[in-house]
Amino acid sequence: MMLENEALAFGETEGDFSAVDKARVVEALGKVLPPGTLMYDAEDLRPYECDGLAAYRALPLVVALPTTEEQVVAVLRICHELGVPVVARGAGTGLSGGALPHTRGVLLSLARFNRILKLDPLARTAVAQPGVRNLAISEAAAPYGLYYAPDPSSQIACSIGGNVSENAGGVHCLKYGLTVHNLLRVRGVTIEGEIVEIGSGALDSPGYDLLALVTGSEGMLVVLTEVTVKLVPKPQLAQCVLAAFDDVVRAGEAVAKIIAAGIIPAGLEMMDQPATAAVEEFVRAGYPLDAKAILLCESDGTPEEVAEEIARVRAVLEESGATEIRVSRDEAERLRFWAGRKAAFPAAGRISPDYYCMDGTIPRKRLGEMLTAIQDMEGKYGLRCMNVFHAGDGNLHPLILFDANQPDELERAEEFGAEILELSVALGGTITGEHGVGLEKINQMCAQFTTAEVRQFFRVKAAFDPPGLLNPGKAIPTLNRCAEYGRMRVSKGHVPYPDIPRF
C-alpha cells in the first residue's frame, strides 16, 4: 500500500503473503473461470513449476488458464481483493526465472491467447494475442513479403507476450532493433482490473512513453492481452560471411573495425572454439574447427547493396587478420552458417548435463578483457565455459557447463555467473542485455543500481501496481535483499546499503 512516509518508501522488504488462503482463492476463482481452466492439484501444477531456467522451481498455489480478457479481468480483481500474488506466463521459455511461480500465488498462463487477431499488409501491422509464437507472426506475414524482425533464438517456441515482457532481442537486432523498436501498442489489464490501451496504430502517443516502460517490465506492471507489432519488408537478399580467426581478441577487434567502417550488418555474431566444437558435432555447420573464434557477419538488402557491403566487410576482415573467409553461395549455405549459431544452447545441453547461460552486455572494446577474465574464472571455479556473443551489440552469452548431480557444482556455476555479471557492470556494461533479471540476476541488480535508484524502481512499479501483487520478488531487489547480499560480499571495506534495517 502507498506509504505516507518517504523514509519508509517502497522496496525495503519482501511482501509477506503467508496469510493467503488456498481454499478461498480456489473458491473465488472457480466462480469466474470455466471448468478445466483452473488447476490446484500438485500433479497438475507440476508442468508449471519452472520456466527455461530449470534450476529454479516452485509450485504455485493454483494455475489459471483464462481464455478471454473478461476472465483475466475477473481473476485480477479477485487477486487484488484477496491480496494474492499473480505471475503471468507465456510459453515459459524465459531464461531468468521471470515466470517462476509464487508459492502463495496464482500462475496466470496466457497460453490460450493464441490467435493473430488482425494482419494489415498495407499498414504493415499485426495484432496478436500474447500467447502467439514469435515465428507464427512472421509466418502469417510471409505471403505479403513482410516479417516481424526480432528473432530470439527460441522464436519457434517463445510467445510475443513474453517477448514484450522481456524486451527480447535476437541475432538481427543491431540493424532491426529489439522488441521495443518494433512495437506499436499493447492492451493489458492492471492488478486493479482496469483495461489499459498503451500506444495505438500511430507511431507515438500523448503523455509519457508507457509503451517503452511496459516493454521489458517482466510482468511487474500489467498483464498483457493484446500486442500490435510492426512488420517490415523482407529483404530481397541476405548473404552471410563466415570468418575464422586464430585469436579471440583479434576477432573482437575485427568486430569494432567493421562498425568503424560505417557498416551496420544485419547480424554480427561470434563464437569461441569450445562453442564451435560443440555445435559442429551437433549440426555439422561446416565451421573450421581449428579456429580460436569465428565471426558470422550477415548483409541484407537489394542485391546491389549486399554485393557492395559484402565486399567492404571482406576487405575489413582480411585487414583484421582473418585466417579464412567464406561467403554463403546460396540460401541453403547461409542457413547452415546460422544453424550452428542458433543451436549453441542445445549443443551445450548435449555435451554437458546442465548449463547456465549468462547475458551480460559490455562495450565492445572490453571484449578481450572479459574473455581473458572468463578463462581465469574457468580455473577458479573448476568449470568449463563456452562463449557465444551477439558481438555487434556487445551482448555476451557465456554458457557455463556443470553437472547439478555433482556436489556443489550448481553453486560454483552460480558464483561463476555472478562474477561474470559483476564484471560486466564494472566494465561499463549491464547484467542483462535481453534475458531479463527475473529471479536469477536479482542480487546482481544491487551491484548495478544504488539505493535511490532501486527505490525509484519500486515507486514506478507502484504507479501501476500499488499493492505489489504482480510478480513480487522479481526483477527489482528489495533493499533488504541488497543489504544481505552486500553483507556477503563486502567490497572495498565498506558495506553497501548501510542505512536500512537488516533481517
Binding site: A123, R124, G145, G177, H181, T190, V196, E197, S200, G201, A202, L203, D204, S205, P206, G207, Y208, D209, L210, A212, L213, G216, S217, M220, P233, A260, G262, I263, I264, G301, T302, E304, E305, E308, E309, T361, I362, P363, G394, N395, G428, T430, T432, G433, E434, H435, K441, M445, F449, T450, A452, E453, Q456, F457, R459, V460, K461, A462, A463, I476
Partner: protein, 356 residues
C-alpha cells in the same frame, strides 16, 4: 557529483521544500511547445560538454546543456549522425531539450524516433537525488526502461544531467524524387512503398506533390531511383527541402495570427483528414500537419476516429491543454509517475498536462 550537480541538487531540494515551481530552460528554442511556461526560470545551459564518444561503440554521452549543433558537428566529423534527425527550432537548441521534447524529424518513420535511440540517462529528480538509468550499451534490460520514459516528458520528471544516445553511420548516398500526386494516391503510394524493401528515408506530401527521399548504399539508392522514376532534385535543393521540413520553415507550416498548427499522429493508412486548412503529410502518412483556424474539438475528434491523437503544436490557447486528454486509468498512472519522480510537483508544472 560535479560542482554544478551539487549546486543544482541543493537548489532542487530547496525548491521542493518551499514548493517553488521551476521552469526548466535549455536554449529556449522549444518554449512554444507544450503547456504554458510557469515557475522560476532554471537555466540549464551551463552543464555542457561531451562526456564520451566512442565511434566504434556507436554511443555518445553528453551533458544536457550541450548545444545540439555542437553534438551534430562532432558526430559528422566521424561520419556519424543522429538518425532520428531532431528538429532544432532555434540556434540555441540543447541535447537535453531535444530529449525532453521527444521530437523527431523526417527520418522518423524509417529510422526510428528519438526514444528508439535513448540508451541511458543521468537524472536529477525532484528529491534532489542523482539517478542513473540505462547505460552506454545497445542492449540493456536491467530495471525498468526509465530513460525512454523521460524522453518526451517535457522536463516534468527531472533535470537531464547526461544522456547517452545511440548514433549511426551517415548514409553514403541520398537522392530525392518528386512526383505529382493527389492526396489519396500519395497516401496509398507511400504505404505500398513501405511494404517493399526500398531505402526510403523520408516522405512529404503537400499541394499535390509527393517528395520521396532515398538513403543508403550508393548502389541501393541508384537502383531504387531507377525503379521509382519521378523527377530527381538537385542535391542542394533536396537538402534545403528536408532541412526546411525538419525546422518547419517551409511556408506550409506557417500559422496566421490566432491560428493553430496541429500535429496529427495517425496510423499511416488513415484516409485524408477532410478538415479545412493547409496540410502537409510526413512519415509515410503517419504524421499530418494541419494549419488553420480549426475548432480544437473537431481536430481531436477526427484524430481519435482515425485511431491516433492530435497535438496543438504551435499557437492557440495553451492553457486549455495542448495534448490529447488521457483515458482515465492512464491518467491515474501518469499522476502516480509524476509523483514518483517529483513529489513536490516543482518541475515544469502544466507543461505536459494542466493537472500536473
Amino acid at each position: 557529483m560535479t560542482t554544478i550537480e551539487k549546486e543544482w541538487a541543493e537548489r532542487v531540494r530547496a525548491a521542493a521544500a518551499a514548493r517553488t515551481p521551476l521552469c526548466l530552460r535549455g536554449g529556449g528554442s522549444k518554449g512554444f511547445y507544450g503547456g504554458p511556461l510557469a515557475g522560476e526560470p532554471f537555466e540549464l545551459c551551463a552543464n555542457r560538454g561531451v562526456v564520451a564518444h566512442e565511434p566504434t561503440e556507436l554511443v555518445v554521452t553528453v551533458r544536457g546543456g550541450t548545444p545540439l549543433a555542437e553534438l551534430e558537428e562532432l558526430l559528422a566529423e566521424k561520419g556519424q549522425y543522429l538518425a532520428f534527425e531532431p528538429p532544432h527550432f532555434g540556434p540555441g537548441a540543447t541535447v537535453g531539450g531535444c530529449v525532453a521534447s521527444g521530437l523527431s524529424g523526417p527520418r522518423r518513420a524509417n529510422a526510428g524516433a528519438l526514444r528508439d535511440f535513448m540508451l541511458g540517462i543521468k537524472l536529477l529528480d525532484g528529491r534532489g537525488e542523482v539517478l542513473r538509468f540505462g547505460g552506454q550499451v545497445m542492449k540493456n534490460v536491467a530495471g525498468y526502461d526509465l530513460s525512454r520514459l523521460v524522453a518526451g516528458s517535457l522536463g516534468t520528471l527531472g533535470i537531464l544531467l547526461e544522456v547517452s544516445l545511440k548514433v549511426l553511420p551517415r548514409p553514403v548516398a541520398e537522392a530525392t524524387l518528386r512526383f505529382e500526386l493527389d492526396e489519396a494516391s500519395a497516401l496509398r503510394r507511400v504505404n505500398e512503398l513501405g511494404g517493399q524493401p526500398l531505402p526510403v528515408s523520408a516522405t512529404l506530401w503537400q499541394d499535390g506533390v509527393l517528395h520521396l527521399r532515398l538513403s543508403g548504399a550508393e548502389a541501393a539508392v541508384q537502383a531504387a531511383g531507377a525503379r521509382l522514376g519521378g523527377e530527381a532534385l538537385a542535391p542542394a535543393a533536396a537538402q534545403a527541402l528536408w532541412t526546411a521540413v525538419r525546422e518547419q520553415t517551409l511556408p506550409g507550416f506557417a500559422v496566421e495570427e490566432g491560428g493553430v498548427l496541429w500535429r496529427l499522429s495517425l496510423p499511416s493508412t488513415a484516409p485524408a483528414l477532410g478538415l479545412p486548412g493547409r496540410q502537409l503529410v510526413e512519415w509515410g502518412g503517419a504524421q499530418r500537419w494541419l494549419a488553420g483556424a480549426v475548432e480544437a474539438q473537431a481536430v481531436r475528434a477526427r484524430a481519435t476516429e482515425l485511431g491516433g491523437h492530435a497535438v496543438a503544436f504551435r499557437g492557440g490557447d495553451r492553457a486549455a491543454g495542448v495534448f490529447q486528454p488521457l483515458a482515465a486509468p492512464l491518467a491515474v498512472v501518469h499522476r502516480r509517475l509524476k509523483q514518483a519522480f517529483d513529489p513536490a510537483g516543482i518541475f515544469n508544472p502544466g507543461r505536459l498536462y494542466p493537472e500536473f
